[in-house]
């Protein structure tokens, strides 16, 4: 490893970036290079220090000198004084304010500390209904550069070099997709945006369209120029009324300002954009189905090739990109591909937005550099498990994804690593589950969704998912058979290999990953008729351990079936004939006195003389 004499921690919080951090960084890099110090002094970008009003700020280690209100003009002086002559540059030195606030700063709170905002750069900062505010934060500068200074080939090259991959799920390289479409000759081409977001639990795209609609539009204008399209549609589900409203306001403002329509920004380029409201079927998020849906037909996928780049909407060359993909395009145009690659990994550069939910402390919308370990997302950003809960699995990618166990928490979040695990990155839903979740039931929940949403065109998908669902239902209701696990796996692989679209090709993932990582749970359901989590009602018995019970009576009061008896301060008991296996007592008991046993235990643990004990 290289050894540096000093580290410069330059603040790249929103406040400092707005007052010029990036220009300072360039000036610093240049000056250090000029003085041949670049091997000795390392410049690192950090999160907000809580002195935004004095920004841009930076600190130098190991000297622990803090500089404020940096300007490009002062940088040569500062470098000369501090790094050549070895004395702090008094003029810009920062004096700690007298009274410090007791409120923690972003660097002290893991939820903020590990996040880096690119896609969400305007999150919580601008009024999404005012184009001026977007412009004030460098909005439409990327489009202006692309339209006025760059050729279509140049745009495609920067996007290709950046390594940007589609955020809609599959991770297809965006630059490549654009290149295919740009090379096809046609009188008409279409640039489309996918804001369908149909997977349960996901809300990244909705949030982005609501908070920063212009970022999506700007990406579309740049994409349109790259492929040579003059008409575009944003496909948004009608269940997202606020997103639709804000996008429409943004589009209207763009027409007013000459940023959409003819001769955009006086560049000679024309692009028209409309919103298309989808009716909400999950399969309409698939690209060929989405295009059929805009044509006014029933949204059903069709075989590829021909790919949409050749024959897409109304059989014309078309490019469809996800909301999050498009929202980062202008940044790449403005800052270049090397900048983009400064975060993330070789094959998965940049950042990814996740909707983090489940039994963790911080539920929310987050953006992290790719390559970050799952553990950091769950335990640092997510603040760890809710009090007293034990981690069991994290579900990624919704109905197309899978459940990953504790042993995989060191996995780094990149397209390649996640696919290897059997899950998929998907659009970014991440649900953390604890040991109150039954993995067979979880797989069943997603299969229920997929079987319902299958458009019915392919037999393996339509019938196959239904059979998977039936087997899973049997297992959870006590009718599991010896070879069910093998049948589930064989059928899953058949569905994956013979379905036309991504829905069928990924629908079995929840089944396959839960079998792969939680096979013992399937076996307990099938062989011992035992759902260890106590979720499958036919496969569990709730039993009070009389040694542990101190007779607090909490469960007795909570039980909706009045199935619990006992005197104060004496061990309580559950009348199995009355118990409806609702888990309430289990979750109520603060002394962990209630066990979950297999269904058979009901027979051997009968409470006899009911009336006598009441």
């Amino acid at each position: 490893m290289e050894k540096f004499r000093a580290e410069v921690m330059l603040c790249s919080g929103t406040g400092c970036v707005a007052s010029g951090t990036m220009k300072i960084k360039t000036a610093l890099d240049e000056e250090l290079k000029k003085r041949e110090l670049e091997g000795e002094i390392k410049v690192v970008l950090t999160g907000c220090n809580g002195y935004c009003a004095q920004g841009p700020v930076m600190s130098v280690y190991p000297d622990e000198i803090f500089y404020q209100a940096l300007t490009v003009n002062e940088i040569p002086k500062l470098v000369e004084e501090h790094f050549l002559k070895g004395r702090p540059y008094q003029k810009l030195m920062f004096k700690e304010p007298e009274e410090k606030l007791a409120i923690p700063s972003m660097r002290d709170i893991p939820f903020f500390k590990y996040q880096v905002l690119r896609v969400l750069r305007n999150k919580g900062l601008i009024d999404p209904e005012r184009i001026e505010e977007y412009i004030a934060r460098d909005g439409y500068q990327g489009a202006a550069k692309a339209l006025i200074e760059m050729t279509s080939e140049e745009i495609i090259k920067v996007v290709r070099d950046s390594g940007l991959r589609g955020r809609g799920g599959a991770g297809f390289p965006t630059g490549l997709k654009w290149e295919f479409a740009s090379k096809v000759q046609s009188d008409m081409k279409y640039m489309l945006c996918n804001g369908d977001e149909g997977d349960p639990g996901a809300f990244m795209d909705r949030s982005l369209m609501e908070a920063d609609p212009h970022a999506v539009i700007e990406g579309m204008i740049i994409g349109a120029k790259a492929i040579g399209a003059h008409q575009g549609y944003i496909y948004v589900r009608a269940e997202y009324p606020l997103a639709v409203k804000r996008l429409q306001i943004a589009i209207d403002q763009c027409y007013d300002a000459g940023i959409l329509g003819k001769n955009i920004l006086d560049s000679g380029f024309a692009f028209d954009l409309e919103i298309y409201q989808g009716a909400g079927a999950f399969v309409c998020g698939e690209e060929t189905a989405l295009m059929r849906s805009i044509e006014g037909k029933r949204g059903m996928p069709r075989p590829r090739p021909p790919f949409p780049a050749q024959k897409g909407l109304w059989d014309k060359p078309s490019v469809l990109n996800n909301v999050e993909t498009l929202a980062q395009v202008s940044l790449i145009i403005l800052n270049g591909s090397n900048w983009y690659r400064s975060l993330g990994t070789e094959k998965s550069p940049g950042t990814k937005v996740f909707a983090l939910t489940g039994v963790i402390n911080n539920i929310g919308l987050i953006e992290v550099p790719m390559g970050i370990p799952l553990k950091t997302i769950i335990y640092d950003i997510g603040g760890g498990m809710k009090k007293g809960r034990k981690f069991k699995a994290v579900q990624m990618g919704g109905p197309s994804g899978g459940c990953l166990p504790e042993g995989l928490l060191d996995l780094s979040v990149t397209y390649e690593d996640i696919v290897k695990s059997g899950a998929i990155m998907g659009s970014g839903g991440m649900v953390v589950m604890d040991d109150n979740n039954c993995m067979v039931s979880t797989a069943k929940f997603f299969l229920d969704f997929s079987a319902d949403e299958s458009c019915g065109k392919c037999t393996p998908c339509r019938v196959g998912t239904k059979i998977l669902l039936d087997i899973l239902t049997d297992i959870t209701e006590g009718r599991g058979k010896e070879r069910d696990i093998e049948t589930l796996m064989d059928l899953s692989n058949d569905i994956i290999s013979s379905s036309l679209c991504g829905l069928g090709q990924t629908a079995p993932n929840p089944v396959l990953t839960t079998i792969k990582y939680f096979r013992d749970e399937y076996e307990a359901h099938i062989k011992e008729k035992w759902c260890v989590a106590g979720v499958c009602r036919d496969l569990c018995t709730f039993l009070i351990d009389e040694e542990l019970c101190n007779g607090c009576g909490a469960c007795l009061r909570a039980c909706p079936a009045k199935a619990i008896i006992g005197e104060k301060k004496k061990p309580h008991r559950i009348i199995q004939d009355l118990c409806v296996q609702c888990r309430t007592c289990y979750e109520t008991c603060r002394f962990s006195s209630i066990e979950i046993l297999s269904a058979k235990a009901r027979e051997t643990n009968r409470v006899e003389s009911v009336s006598a004990e009441r």
């Binding site: 999150k123 403002q253 929310g364």
Partner: protein, 127 residues
């Protein structure tokens, strides 16, 4: 709005940047209420109307209120950010109309952040 040319982008940027930094904008304070779907569901609108009432009552002209999208921590909505000129922004969470009144009085008017409702001071890392 007139049709924009590329020079205009720069001009608008400079002009409205002032509102962000407050420094040149002639404002002393800015309050942003986060109104994404989850914020609104949690009651952000009540917080907003209370705030507008308070400002009208106090007759302040050097304070701007604005809305913005999701602040990212859905479980702690409604959230608002208060920024006083020369000080880093402070984010408040789990708000209701009582709390925002107190924050308005102590922080916006008297310049003293209300520590008990504050989540964090500063702004996010962007790069």
């Amino acid at each position: 709005m007139q049709r924009l040319k590329i020079e205009d982008l720069q001009r608008i940027k400079e002009k409205h940047r002032a509102e962000f930094t407050l420094r040149e904008g002639g404002y002393r304070a800015k309050v942003t209420v986060h109104m994404g779907t989850c914020g609104i569901a949690a009651g952000a609108r009540t917080v907003m109307t209370t705030l507008i009432d308070e400002i009208a009552k106090a007759g302040l002209e050097d304070v701007i209120i604005t809305t913005s999208g999701c602040a990212g921590l859905c479980a702690r909505e409604p959230m608002a950010t208060v920024e006083i000129m020369g000080h880093p922004p402070v984010k408040y969470c789990d708000l209701n109309s009582e709390k925002i009144k107190e924050i308005f009085k102590d922080h916006v008017i008297d310049g003293k952040p209300v520590e008990k409702y504050a989540l964090v001071v500063g702004s996010e890392t962007t790069y």
